[in-house]
């Protein structure tokens, strides 16, 4: 019974909507209001309201998970390969929701939003954001959409952290969790790499203590942070296969420090492209939220963290992911198993590294498709 998931259609033209609630109190104790979340939905909520799936995005994601924003839009949403009719998150069957996290820069309230008290962007006056806050904001949205219980919550990387946190904070609302390439607490190496990215931004003179809105921002710093990020998302092997030692030009002259290698060119391209769509302060806030996320510290032990969850779990790691290594997913699985929870775990063989969850990868598609199908059957019966 193999399901062919390589086909599937686009959800077509979609629109980002906005949900605004009067006030929101952050974990730090600060209250802001009004607060908005940008979100998109695909598919139709059924009459029983039991087919809703929340997608939680990673560091640089947005509410725009699938489809296109206009007929001449060339770039589909960040998880378009997985979301649409006939795709793993099949919009003919499920009702899919994706929202931009609080602190984000793609429509949700964040450091680049206007502070109503001053009439200027918050900048570093924005409260510290945690994964806990992201989940609580999404809770408001889900309730606003009239959903009492989600069939599933799915996300990779930081999205996986949110999905796990949801199952702990709202056990009765989360039927199942699909957590991909994530961790219960980022490694020291991961924190170190995030810090280098943050320092790249903060050492850019244009950052100006976070007050750069309306003038030239810390583009060089943000671009450098993104370049570092992209190194961590790929495996050594994949990078070698993709670029090797190839040059941009066939017969390069030995010049000073122009970027001549393909891999240099790739990183510069990724860095420059990122600057156009992302806010540097959001980068600082969100990476810090990832660093602070620690289920072991918050609940004493990882075992305690999962003691009251009621969801079924699909946990997936990738063998070549060194940013969120398989051992960190296994740790989650073991804590869940020790609590007697229902968990499926697969360590998918791949050379593509951490970013495997964003590429067209049949084993991932197949497991998500089959897991959701069975979970939906359980809910319906």
């Amino acid at each position: 019974m193999d399901i062919n998931t390589t086909t599937g259609k686009s959800v077509g033209i979609v629109e980002t909507r906005k949900f605004t609630f009067e006030s929101f109190t952050f974990r730090s104790g600060r209250t802001l209001g009004p607060v908005s979340l940008a979100y998109e939905t695909y598919g139709t909520l059924n009459a029983q309201k039991n087919n809703a799936i929340l997608l939680t995005h990673a560091l640089s994601g947005s509410a725009h998970a699938a489809g296109y924003h206009s007929s001449d839009d060339k770039h589909p949403g960040w998880w378009d390969l997985y979301v649409g009719p006939g795709k793993p998150f099949d919009t003919d069957i499920y009702y899919i929701i994706c929202s931009n996290v609080i602190g984000g820069c793609n429509g949700s309230t964040g450091p680049s939003s206007i502070n109503p008290e001053t009439g200027r962007p918050y900048g570093l006056d924005f409260p510290m954001v945690t994964i806990h806050d992201m989940v609580n904001c999404q809770w408001h949205l889900v309730r606003h959409l009239g959903i009492d219980r989600l069939l599933s919550i799915a996300g990779g990387s930081m999205g996986g952290m949110q999905a796990l946190k949801w199952s702990i904070m709202y056990p009765d609302m989360v039927g199942s969790v699909i957590s991909i390439a994530t961790s219960a607490s980022l490694s020291a190496q991961g924190i170190a790499l995030n810090e280098v990215g943050r320092q790249a931004i903060m050492n850019d003179p244009n950052w100006n203590g976070g007050n750069y809105y309306g003038s030239k921002g810390p583009d060089a710093g943000l671009s450098l942070a993104r370049m570092i990020g992209h190194i961590t998302y790929l495996s050594e092997k994949h990078m070698h296969e993709k670029f090797g030692r190839r040059y941009k030009d066939e017969d390069p002259t030995i010049t000073k420090f122009d970027n001549v290698f393909m891999v240099e060119s790739y990183l510069h391209y990724q860095g420059t492209k990122f600057v156009d769509r992302f806010d540097a302060n959001t980068y600082l806030y969100i990476t810090k939220a990832i660093d602070y996320f620690d289920l072991k510290k918050d609940y004493g032990t990882l075992h305690n963290a999962f003691s009251s969850v009621k969801s079924n779990f699909l946990i997936i790691s990738f063998t070549s992911d060194w940013l969120y290594p398989s051992s960190q997913s296994k740790e989650i699985v073991q804590a869940l198993r020790a609590n007697g929870k229902n968990v499926m775990y697969t360590d998918i063989e791949t050379d593509m590294g951490h970013d495997t969850f964003l590429i067209d990868y049949e084993p991932l598609k197949r497991n998500i498709t089959n897991f959701l199908k069975r979970e939906y059957e359980r809910v319906k019966s």
Binding site: V333, N342, M344, Y345, N367, F371, R374, E377
Partner: protein, 210 residues
């Protein structure tokens, strides 16, 4: 050709009480667990090393963990399962003694079945031909076999005695036809192709309560 894919499934299905919580160590594509779920309303869990096996389990809706059998057994509380099954896998495990001990601890019943190295045809190959046995039970050349801890029925009986594992039942068998076992009661250590034991994990884990 006998269907060697489903060895001992009939005996295991007979053994497992309806509605039991079952863990299958080395569950492959989940066929046995799926049968137990359908025919015995069992609540099934699995551990499997191969990606493909785990993915088939996901397809069947079985909660399965991809990893080594001995990985993470320590996480389970005493007597978490009604049955833990180690079917045709004991001889492949790296630490059989550890695995069996954990099975006895985490389960009320441990079902263990393995190819009997004392089977007379196996003995004869070594004795008469002087070569490492290769037959329907042990279908590998010595240089490519995954079987690293081969044993006889007698070996396992001695092992249980030494470790004070209470043996509930022994139904050693040979294959009769596809998926069908015929139980061997006379000289099983010579005549039976496979050993089949049910051990009392509950009595082992909580000896004082008896």
């Amino acid at each position: 050709m006998v269907d060697i894919e489903h060895i001992a499934y009939d005996l295991i299905l007979d053994e497992v009480a309806p509605g039991s919580k079952v863990l299958d160590l080395g569950c492959g594509d989940g066929t046995l667990l799926h049968k137990l779920q359908k025919e015995k309303q069992a609540v099934p869990y699995g551990v499997e090393i191969s990606e493909d096996g785990v993915w088939h389990c996901v397809e069947k809706g079985l909660y399965c963990y991809q990893g080594d059998i001995d990985e993470g057994l320590a996480d389970y509380k005493d007597n978490s399962f009604d049955y833990v099954i180690l079917n045709q896998t004991l001889q492949i495990t790296k630490r059989p003694s550890y695995v069996l001990n954990e099975m006895m601890r985490i389960s009320k019943n441990a079902i263990v079945s393995f190819p009997n190295f004392g089977y007379y045809k196996t003995r004869l190959q070594l004795l008469v031909k002087g070569i490492m046995p290769k037959n329907i039970l042990l279908p590998y050349e010595w240089y490519e076999t995954p079987n690293i801890h081969l044993l006889t029925i007698q070996d396992f009986q001695n092992f249980c005695k030494k470790h004070e594992y209470p043996v509930k039942k022994e139904t050693h068998f040979s294959l009769a036809s596809a998926g069908r076992s015929s139980i061997i009661r006379t000289f099983p250590n010579i005549i039976a192709q496979y050993g089949f034991f049910v051990l009392d994990g509950e009595r082992y884990t909580r000896p004082l309560s008896q």
